[in-house]
Amino acid sequence: MRHLTVFPKSTVAKREKVLNLLLGSSVIVLFLVGWELLFQLKIVNPLFISAPSRVVLAEIAMIKDGSLLKNLTVSAKEFLLGYGAAVLIGFPFGIILGWFKLVRGSFGPFIAALQATPRVALMPLFIIWFGLGITSKIVVVLMSAIFPLIVNLRVAMTTIDADLVHVARAYGASRWQIFHSIAFPTSLPFLMTGLRLAAGRGLLGVIVAEVFGGAEGIGYMIQYAGSTFQTDKVFAGVLVVAVSGITLDFSLDRLGRHFDRWRGEVPVH
């Protein structure tokens, strides 16, 4: 008698997950070991490349003297204020832009032109207008983060299911009712994508703005460490930025899934 071993689907998926985790982390470990060896064996000038062990030591030193927390607080404040403003303005504006043809016609080209301009190039102007303090950084974050939101929500309004609108109209729905019962729920997944993209852009904005002209914050810290050849500290700063970015993206992804429950399970590829 022959026996067929059938693995439950969840077991197969779990195995694949574990394998991916193993492969993924071994590449990172290999990279770190290689980096450390380059340093320890002095294959490349240690001053240029630092080493994982030294980065960790620099990180610990920064935590101990309180400079990390201080700079991180400044950067986080700039980011959150700029990002928050971007969401508060970009979300409704994107929806209005997509919903009203007339608004789209009048503001569309202007938005497109603004979007095509690298915001960092406007940094000198922002400094002139808003000074070297926190305001100019908030403006850069706002300007960086707002466009992914506007664009995504505008697109959301154009993907509204015409059949659903047809049904709503058949039931005598007003334009406002169509908006809040169909357009708004349609926009939520797009909002989540927009929030993730905007977070990435905003983070970039903060760092660039601080590198460009700041006196505090993680970006400034990196810039200062670089100009004084403290490569350990540069890497330590980059690590902080990377970890913040990953954490932010991960949390926004989880939040997005919460709003996406009605779509059901996405098939495993």
Partner: protein, 310 residues
């Protein structure tokens, strides 16, 4: 917003009236040998003393064809009286304008001429006295079944709790209980269409409009749904206007079958279905049933041949 205004003709198209007269002329020629207008068939209704629920007088619906810039007539001077509790089905070739006609009753498409009255009130747009079930279930995917069924009621301004209570009767009737907390994507096509039907019935409309409600379903589900609708209609006694391509479906469910001509649509014939109620699905095997189906089919076929309307 795209799609929002697509099917609405905002400005009345004056040219339609002339073209309607033109088509009327040609209709008489084409139609001379068959049967003219619905007036004759309405004779048999003279001794029906139920009040007229839905009255349609001489309506003309025209479309502005954006490509050619011409006005096309979809529905040409159709008159119909539908009495309370009657189940009337409209059949005809595909693209003949019967769905347009139904959309005009729903108020989703403006008619350029004539008038539509529900309970003697003139119809000028969508309203809560009519509810439509389209071919596609078009359920809101982010709402659970329960909230989809109450959707129509919520749009009419009813509080959710009240809407739930009102809808619960139909949830039971259409045997959807236990599914209220499912999302639409978790249901089969047939089940989704039942939710669609429940959503319409929950509004307790004066007239229920069904636009090829089972056309998107597989053959087996369709048969089952037909039987279910038959049972349901005999229970709730609603006035129903349905559009379908399936002649047997029309005969099974209806009190009268209206046959539309090829485009532009006018009434070719109005055939009463005298099969007594309550009916069961197996009447499809009876001689009388097959006779009626073939009578209807011959009228449609004859029109298609004369008009070259395929």
């Amino acid at each position: 917003m795209p799609g929002y205004k697509k099917n609405v003709i905002k400005k009345p198209i004056l040219a339609v009236r002339e073209s309607a007269f033109f088509f009327e002329g040609s209709n008489h020629i084409v139609n001379a040998g068959i049967k003219i207008m619905s007036g004759i068939a309405q004779g048999y209704l003279a001794n029906d003393n139920r009040p007229v629920k839905l009255s349609i007088k001489n309506i003309v619906v025209g479309y502005l064809d954006k490509q050619s810039g011409h006005t096309l007539v979809a529905v040409d001077r159709v008159s119909l009286d539908i009495r309370e509790g009657e189940f009337v089905t409209i059949v005809g070739l595909s693209g003949c304008g019967k769905s347009t006609f139904l959309n005009a009753i729903a108020g989703l498409v403006k008619h350029q001429h004539g008038e539509i009255r529900v309970n003697d009130r003139i119809v000028n747009g969508p309203g809560t006295d009519r509810a439509v079930v389209f071919q596609k279930a078009s359920l809101l995917p982010w709402r659970k079944v329960g909230r989809n069924i109450t959707y129509g009621l919520e749009l009419s301004g009813m509080k959710l709790a009240e809407a739930r209570e009102k809808a619960s009767y139909y949830v039971n009737l259409i045997r959807l209980n236990g599914f209220e907390n499912h999302y639409p994507h978790q249901l089969s096509g047939g089940m989704q269409q039942r939710v669609n039907l429940a959503r319409a019935l929950a509004c307790d409309p004066e007239v229920l409009l069904l636009d090829e409600p089972f056309a998107a379903l597989d053959a087996i589900t369709r048969e089952l749904m037909q039987n279910e609708l038959l049972e349901l209609c005999e229970k709730v006694g609603k006035t129903v206007v349905m559009v379908t391509h399936q002649i047997d479906e029309a005969v099974l469910l209806s009190d009268r079958v209206i046959i539309f001509s090829a485009r532009p649509a006018y009434v070719l014939d109005d055939i009463p279905i005298p099969i007594p109620r309550p009916r069961k699905g197996h009447i499809k095997d009876s001689e009388e049933f097959r006779e009626l189906v073939s009578t209807i089919w011959r009228v449609i076929e004859g029109n298609a041949n004369i008009g070259g309307g395929i």
